[in-house]
């Protein structure tokens, strides 16, 4: 059993990336201290432990920092390998696939296209929405017949997609659009329910009304900036 040591998590109240780490720590039963940052006024701790990006989340374990949410998840899985659940499968092919889908969420299309649909209007927004639809089709196909993206057990790719469950309804409300629906996305919808049923995940969602307020303000800000510069 790995020496627990001191575990501190720097995040924000709403950070989706921080939420992934919260789920991993809670599911594995790892005690930790949580520090909610104000990113408009970054703490010395954050600047010291993530000097390259000054972003959250940052995990500090025994005084050493680990940055980037997916890197943190793998670190947690390796360091507390005795604590179930396993976040990555044992089989190398399945591990490669899990890493592939986790990366897909963040770096390739899923989140960036969501961002575009959310912060733009007109044709650019339409393109973002079309891109999201493409990505969701791929995810729907990948999920078919599986309980989780990781297979039988929840794993890193499921954590990476977690924002779909909590944030998409918020975006749908603000944009007045339907992004995920039961008809086009039966497997994704089923997966969302399954994720939400996990107590540790259910109890960790940031308050919805606060999220709506925050994201509506973000959208307004981006639209105002775009209109001002093109007007």
């Amino acid at each position: 059993m790995a020496d627990q040591g001191e575990v501190k998590l720097l995040k924000t109240w709403s950070s989706l990336f921080g939420l992934r780490v919260v789920w991993a720590l809670k599911l594995k039963g790892i005690p930790y201290e949580s520090v909610d940052e104000d990113l408009t006024n970054k703490s010395d701790l954050l600047l010291q432990y993530n000097p390259v990006h000054t972003k959250v989340p940052v995990l500090i374990h025994n005084g050493k920092s680990i940055c980037e949410s997916l890197v943190i998840l793998e670190y947690i899985d390796e360091t507390w390998s005795q604590n179930p659940p396993r976040l990555l499968p044992r089989d190398p092919i399945q591990r490669a696939s899990a890493r592939f889908w986790a990366k897909f969420m963040d770096e390739k299309q899923a989140l960036p296209s969501m961002w575009q649909a959310f912060t733009k209007e007109g044709r650019e927004q339409e393109e973002g929405v079309a891109s999201i639809a493409e990505n969701l089709k791929l995810l729907e196909a990948e999920l078919e017949g599986k309980k989780f993206l990781g297979g039988e057990e929840i794993g890193i790719p499921d954590f990476a997609l977690g924002w779909l469950v909590n944030l998409v309804p918020v975006f749908e409300e603000i944009l007045g659009l339907k992004i995920v629906d039961e008809e086009r996305h039966p497997s994704l919808s089923e997966w969302s329910r399954r994720i939400s049923d996990i107590p540790v995940i259910e109890e960790s969602w940031p308050p919805r009304d606060k999220l709506v307020t925050k994201w509506a303000a973000i959208r307004d800000h981006f639209l105002a900036t775009a209109r001002a510069s093109s007007g």
């Binding site: 050493k64 980037e68 360091t79 190398p92 092919i93 890493r99 592939f100 990366k103």
Partner: protein
Amino acid sequence: MANNNNGDVKLIGAWPSPFVMRSRIAFNIKSVEYEFLEEKFGSKSELLLKSNPVHKKIPVLLHNDKPICESNIIVEYIDEVWSAGPSILPSDAHDRAVARFWAAYVDEKWFPNVRGALNASSEEAKNAAVGQLKEGMALLEGAYEEISKGKDFFGGEKIGFIDIAFGSMLAWLRALQVMLGGVKLLDEEKTPGLCKWADKFSADPAVKDVLPETDKIIEFAKLLVAKNKAAAASS
């Protein structure tokens, strides 16, 4: 290819791609033979489209016909499967996290500026990209000093994960320096550690037949830039 216990190992790629170079270097480190299926410039083979339907990009490793995609993920796979050979990822969990962090940094923050500098349509855009690249080089120099702990490589005495992730970029880095009229990214004064590292990395037996000559990359880059311009003009 008779590979005894290694199974059937194929790599779909192309010689100029730094991402493909990563897989090839990893295979060399592990002394694993593979069949190199080279894509033709400007077109994508049926096999590639079938093996990587999501991104349609190289490299793709086909191990006993099962595809593995994404260059850093492929290197981790190679390290895990051929565990008897010299290890690529460090053994300590925190060191591994640091290695993954910097490999991700190269791809997400540093490399896009290479593209940006090459394809820039204005002097301003080009200078901005070069500025970002130089900042990145300073960060990587710092990382090298800290992580190598006086040894030759990020991985210590032998090439490791960060060496492969960043070293695979060297041919393009050197080409860029020439194409941008002598811009110094590897700078004896500002990045002395990386200058020494670059030479050692390029000369390593696992690397030297994989990293192309700078001239060949410059030639290829011109073709690529022209192709990108044509595509942008027609869209």
